[in-house]
Symmetry: C4
Subunit: 195 residues, 4 copies
């Protein structure tokens, strides 16, 4: 919708996309947090599994559900905008600066989640959604920060898509960013405890 | 106002409309929630009646008040913008993708309301208003999601209007989305209880 | 700033102005609410005086401070943007639709304040600031809703100004809107008590 | 990102920058507030040292960390956007109106922090981030309000940069604004106590 209406002004389209994503995340985390933890993101489930707050088996089941949900969401969007359901993105997003962006974006997301859970658990819907709105702009990749979303957006040939050959580097950078954040935040929050 | 000022950039107009709608909803739900439940929407009253949290007789009275309020609101907007009070929209919004958009929008709204009430009642003004801001963008229909609003906007020949021949499909899709959400959320929240 | 940067797109300028006003109001009400009540607005002080929650003598002193603060604020803005301090607006804002807009805007503001104070006092900074952001867009006058602001903006020949001959009708409409809101909300909240 | 996408509409770029800055600040203050106080700003550490809530020695260590963090942040942004890491800004920001803007911006920031801490400590992430979003627009300098940020942005030749010859006046104005705010707020909050 954003893309069609703001012809020639992708800034407005991105602004609308960022707000829609942030608003939706706030709602979903508020509602599904008490039900399932509201991960929606394989990087988040990986982080909880690394910290042994989720079994690896459960994390695997979460990832399957996340991939299914992401693809169904893309298909629903195609249906709402009267586009063919089946698409493959042709939008290349290559190069080290794109991968570094996804590393930073995912590092920040995981750090936001564990940082907020530590002292201000009730603020999680606000911090995660505001982080994602901000990361749209402070990264060069519009901050996918989610392997399931990366996979699903390879199936959408719109300005939000990512060509399949570009996806593996995105997913690798996201996983590295996630692991780096789990290690950094474990150290930071442990040193806070010992003060 | 948005439309007149952002000539040639409907994206900015929609952004302003979305923020104005969301901000107003937050205020109205905060104030009228404790007074009347702050429905403003026949789909919401239908959902509460289906769950037997509102008598059908009371739901009927709510719908009459909702229709009256929506039409008076449209008339007040016409008066503020120095337009003729009586108008009929000529803006066709037809086709299955529009109806599917309204199904999704209303399903999400009702799910948001019952999901939030279940665990985070105090967050209802925030989640409902952010949901509506987001749904402006992730649907193709700008998310009416309200039969009374659909009826009243048929009486406004502006970019927010809907031609009377397009209205019945919108309202039908909203009712189906509402019923589907009541059934889904009842199942989801019941299975959460039995965990 | 908004006006200079968004040449040819007043929609973006208004959006930025609305957000800046809303954000500032949230901050000021949060900080000055516990100190002085955070009125900043003769219509608000009038409403509290009518409800006998403020002496008329104190309300008069508040109005003097509000007028002084508003004019100093306009002068500071002129200094920050390297404009002549002393200006008189040439921007006419006449006609019944403008006055009706100010009636609606001020009615809604006062209703928002007393409605929030009644059941959700802690939400006042949020509801008042979101109301003002929204009213920028749903009125035709960009919602001054404040006699002191109207007076001060007569002294600024920018797109936010108002020509002195247009100001009296704005102020009269604001006062009528304020009185109507005090009467309506007293009735509404009293009938809520007797339920 | 904002700059590249919104060619010819710097208003949208600034809007995106303001939202990204505000969102990030909310997240960082929420997470690091309980860990370190979440200063990120030599003016803030100076204010706490003046009020003897931080030793001067600790304030010095904070400033070193703030300068390092700001420069590393600029370098990371350059890397994400595939630009040369080492840059020097050529963007002059001179004149008394720019310095007065930075005085006002920093005065307001420090007043916001101490005003919120006094009565509504939990609202600090919200008030500080909303203040910064608003000050982007109500100042002529886009509100740097932070000596470390001023220093680091001298090392970025983008639209957010500041040429080294313009930086000293910015930093001086920020320090004067900080000192004036500490004095004013101490008086204001003390007179509130004695009421």
């Amino acid at each position: 919708m954003a893309e069609r209406l703001s012809l020639g002004n992708n800034g407005v389209a991105l602004l609308a996309n960022a707000l829609a994503t942030g608003g939706t995340l706030f709602v979903l985390i508020t509602i599904f947090g008490p039900l399932s933890g509201a991960h929606f993101n394989p990087a988040v489930s990986l982080a909880f599994a690394m910290r042994r707050e989720l079994t690896w088996r459960m994390a695997g089941a979460y990832v399957v559900a996340q991939l299914l949900g992401a693809v169904l969401g893309v298909y629903a969007a195609h249906a709402m905008f009267a586009q063919p359901i089946w698409q493959v993105s042709a939008k290349l997003r290559d190069g080290p600066s794109q991968a570094f962006s996804e590393f930073v974006a995912t590092f920040g997301l995981i750090a936001t989640i564990f940082g907020t859970l530590r002292f201000r658990q009730a603020a999680t819907p606000a911090t995660v959604s505001l982080y994602i709105v901000a990361a749209y702009w402070f990264t060069a990749s519009t901050s996918f920060a989610n392997p399931a979303v990366t996979f699903a957006r390879a199936l959408s040939n719109t300005f939000a898509g990512i060509a399949p050959p570009s996806a593996p580097a995105f997913i690798a950078a996201q996983i590295v960013g996630c692991v780096a954040a789990v290690i950094s935040m474990s150290w930071l929050l442990r040193s806070a405890d010992s003060d």
